[in-house]
Symmetry: C2
Subunit: 615 residues, 2 copies
């Protein structure tokens, strides 16, 4: 049943070897679709955030979005150059976590890694909630089901990712390229209209005009809000192993292409917003207002407007997918370093890291349910969660170049130094002016650090306990005592006895007799002796209904006796295996229970003799 459902939703299991073929690796076009939606979709709200802060003083302050936009573009350029260097220096993926761990310190690496893990959950929650908003804005009838749609989207993305990478990327290419194409068209058409004089100049004030109330603090806040557009830029550097060979070169090219598109869209939208003088209003985004102003109200214009709105909605939903490729990869790297459970290193039936995918979906759904409707309040948290690892990895790259080039490191690390400076500035501004919104970042990171270190500590302790000392003994036992647990005399118990006699020097058969079954038990003893008259049959009488405790007591006695003789002890549990797995539910799980309790006994080896039913 379950496995059939799984096949329908997840697909046939793939052979592990299939991983080796190129089929599941990403071409540049696919990778761009898969890894850039987070960054590109920020365009839908990033420029608006800048304008929102500025108009809090006066609509005339909007012209300041142009110089702020320039700084954001500088930041983008510096981050791009910097992450290209990360890709070449760390082709195995890992991004900020790896760079920080190797160049600064493992503990700072954990800060990076922990921030990013939480951030991917936030990305999924925020993007999916915004995507649901966009959908329900287009179809107002669906509005009451906003949260349902968001959760459904998470589950849909989860299933796509469990199916495997290639299918995911293919199905995601359409929305991403639709968004890129329609936004480039919008900007291009806007500029064409402007140059042919069909887009009138409505700016709220001229560039350079002095606006009372504009302070440095205001501009800094506007800048940090705009820099939210740059979240997601690091995704490609975490996913280098997914690229087709030459992996690093392809990843670097993809990053450059993405940055160019992102920069063009950001610049174009910021400029056209200034030119058309659009001011934020409730119920319609500035981007939608601008699209309406540019496309006009002719029937074809309205059609294009709806297509543009649809593509915005789709890319927001798809942006969540970035998290689904980055989170499992990062948890794999952290698990490899023993900071997360080993299970994040296991590949699922379709060669994805299923546990990472499931954990992310679970976390995002929990976030959606907790912050139902108020995901906007998560955005500052999300920004600090991105820029702390950004800053750390830029710093790490500077150290990296210093190690590699010694005193000539400066010319290699100019991009990184500039990037780091901007990132630290953003973190500083967030700390100074947004502390009320970002404080949960600190306890969460502290808790994650504690968790990571405890896990590492546990693994280290285990390794220490398993390590062989010089003086470890090779023990030559004198023989083996086999204790066979027999409930009744069937083909199962006879088969188990035949096996027991092939491995044991001493063979003891034990049967537990309860008050209620005494009569049947005498019959069992008689039947057994008929088949195996030469074997010791011990009947333990108990006044309890439970047969586990008397069994354990007897096992302990046998173990003590065997130890005196220098024998090992095998407890043989006979069981039968039904023909269909679901039939197990119909059978008394006594043998499982027994094995569970016996597992805690030392110096006893538990064996299962399985008799297979044919019908």
């Amino acid at each position: 049943m379950f496995s059939k459902l799984k096949k329908i939703f997840i697909g046939q299991p793939l052979k592990s070897g299939d991983e080796g073929d190129e089929g599941h690796l990403l071409s540049k076009l696919q990778a761009l679709a898969m890894l850039s939606s987070d960054a590109l979709s920020s365009i839908a709200y990033g420029p608006e955030q800048v304008v929102l802060v500025l108009v809090s003083v006066s609509a005339g302050a909007i012209w300041w979005s142009l110089p702020i936009g320039l700084v954001v573009l500088v930041l983008l350029t510096s981050l791009t150059i910097s992450y290209r260097q990360v890709i070449h220096a760390y082709p195995q993926g890992g991004g900020a976590y790896m760079v920080t761990t190797e160049n600064l310190s493992p503990n700072l690496g954990l800060v990076s890694g922990g921030s990013l893990l939480v951030d991917y959950m936030l990305t999924v929650a925020v993007s999916v909630a915004s995507g649901a908003d966009a959908i329900t804005s287009a179809i107002p009838a669906l509005h009451p089901y906003n949260l349902h749609i968001a959760v459904f989207l998470v589950l849909g993305l989860m299933l796509m990712n469990l199916r495997g990478l290639r299918e995911s990327a293919t199905s995601l290419m359409i929305p991403v390229y639709l968004f890129i194409a329609s936004t480039i068209f919008l900007i291009g058409f806007g500029l064409f209209q402007l140059l042919t004089g069909h887009l009138p100049y409505h700016a709220t004030s001229h560039i350079g005009q002095t606006i009372p109330g504009v302070t440095v603090v205001l501009l800094l806040r506007a800048f940090t809000s705009g820099s939210a557009s740059l979240t997601g830029v690091e995704a490609i550097s975490n996913a280098v192993p997914f690229f087709k060979a030459p992996k690093a070169a392809n990843a670097a090219k993809t990053l450059a292409i993405m940055a160019a598109i992102l920069g063009f869209l950001f610049a174009g939208i910021t400029f056209l917003n200034y030119w058309t003088g659009i001011v934020p209003v409730k119920g319609m985004t500035t981007l939608a207002q601008m699209a309406q102003a540019i496309l006009g109200s002719s029937p074809i214009g309205r059609l294009l407007f709806y297509i543009f709105q649809l593509s915005t909605a789709l890319i927001l939903a798809v942006a969540a997918n970035t998290g689904f490729s980055a989170f499992p990869m990062l948890s794999y790297n952290m698990a490899k370093n023993k900071y997360m459970p080993h299970m994040y290193m296991e590949k699922g039936d379709r060669l994805g890291y299923s546990n990472g995918i499931l954990t992310l979906a679970f976390g995002a759904i929990v976030l959606l349910l907790i912050f139902e409707g108020s995901t906007e309040s998560l955005i500052p948290l999300y920004t600090i969660g991105v820029f702390v690892p950004f800053a750390l990895s830029q710093t790490g790259m500077v150290i990296h170049w210093k190690k590699q080039y010694g005193k000539q490191f400066l010319k290699h690390s100019l991009a990184n130094i500039l990037g780091a400076a901007i990132c630290y500035t953003i973190v500083g501004i967030l700390l100074l002016f947004r502390l009320g919104a970002i404080w949960p970042f600190f306890p969460i990171i502290a808790a994650l650090m504690w968790l990571f270190l405890s896990i590492k500590n546990h693994y280290n302790k285990v390794a220490l306990q398993l390590r062989l000392d010089e003086d470890i003994e090779r023990i030559d036992f004198a023989g083996n005592t086999v204790l066979v647990l027999v409930g009744n005399v069937t083909r199962v118990s006879v088969g188990a006895m035949n096996y027991a006699r092939s491995i044991g020097n001493d063979i003891i058969v034990m049967h537990v007799s309860t008050k209620e079954t005494q009569e049947k038990d005498r019959e069992v003893a008689r039947e057994f002796q008929e088949y195996f008259p030469d074997i010791q049959f011990t009947n333990i009488e108990t006044s309890y209904r439970n047969i586990i405790r008397p069994t354990l007591r007897y096992v302990d006695r046998i173990a003590r006796e065997a130890e005196k003789k220098g024998y090992t002890v095998t407890v043989l549990v006979p069981q039968f295996i039904p023909n269909h797995q679901w039939q197990n539910i119909l059978h008394n799980q006594m043998s499982l229970k027994m094995k569970y309790y016996l597992k805690w006994r030392e110096n006893v080896v538990i064996s299962s003799y399985s008799y297979h039913l044919k019908e």
Copy 2:
């Protein structure tokens, strides 16, 4: 973690032997509280159902509720006598299911059993939903949370029942006796007022008056609605083993006491309703209107009114508990006859049949969620589900007496014949006049029958396959081949090797080497040879990442070779057991996975060598 939570909610596990002491068995007073709430709570809606049908013609038809009430009382008397006979004839419990199976046919027994199982789920769902309604009628602010309260009540009852019988009964005594006392007080005070002339005669018509439109069909429908008050009467006969000795006598006495109380309450309410001339209105039950009329509007009268309403609400919530004692007992009996999975025969930590309790709670919650708010539509279904097994068990009792007394059976079975006749009549009326509401009964019962018979068939097939034929061979194997799976050389693998040498004639060590780990693997081989130079170490190279398939292939090869030599094969899987159970989540479950796949291999015995960590 889980076990701590379990202790808080369920209590410390009890020794199995504790069952034997009298502490967990029920005294008559406790049993009355525990087993009668279903029947007694029907008083809250049964008489009203009769009046509802009658006033559909005219308010004047209400006087007919008196003769109909008399027929209900006759039915009650006959059912009581009949079930007293069931108790004495079947002191091991089982009720309608046992009686029908033994006296009519096993298949009709399954119809009885299946109906009752579904019915207990309906009891829980209907009672709990009505209880929630009563609560929210008292505290209107809670009204939006009706469904939440109902689900919460089911979970509460489930936990109480998982804690064990005695505690449940003790905590349930208060609401049941509060309801009995307050209703008897209400009726007694009403009659006192009536006799002292303070309760004016307001009947809508005199007894015997001819009301146009009253037909036989109408009276029959009214009668079947009234007989819904008798659901739950059979509960005591299913639960005889829970009584203190002398079990049967105590159970029979308890049944008689309950029937007397039920009859008195039913008669009193029906009569006072006629006398005060109360007509159903929306938003207030007839019982509540009657209580208000009798108790008056003085401050003390209003206080008593609230107490009465509270006790009604409480007993409805508690009525659901009847299902929680009857369902697990019935599923135990059906599992004993192999019609239900064995797991329903297992006792939990607190000596209750946990699986039955959990199944019932799950089913009731599903019903609540499906029929959210419209539980009234379930009541006809509930009635047919009760009266089909009633009718079958009454018929079964007639056969029982015939077997026992031969030709003189008539005088012993008068009560049963009358009861059966009335029950068949009710079923007939339901079929004729309520088919639209009761049809789901038939597909449900058909599906359950199929399930029961499939389960039985499976158990029979298994028993047949396990049975020893005369010619079953005792095989003397020549020796044993042990295949030890070694991942790396640690204390675990060295311990496993020591054990393997104590049981094996041939010992083979196998290690799987993947492309990614070749270097490490050479180290493992070298280290191993250092410790055990005399043991064959086989390194299987695989181009896959997955190590399970090459392992299985090699196991198959070894098994074939061993078979030629007349050897048995043991696959030894070394593993370590962490000091705390939760730490298992941190470890690669490869040994579990391996054992799972190996289980499907025949002629291979799987052994686990467990090394126990201390920290």
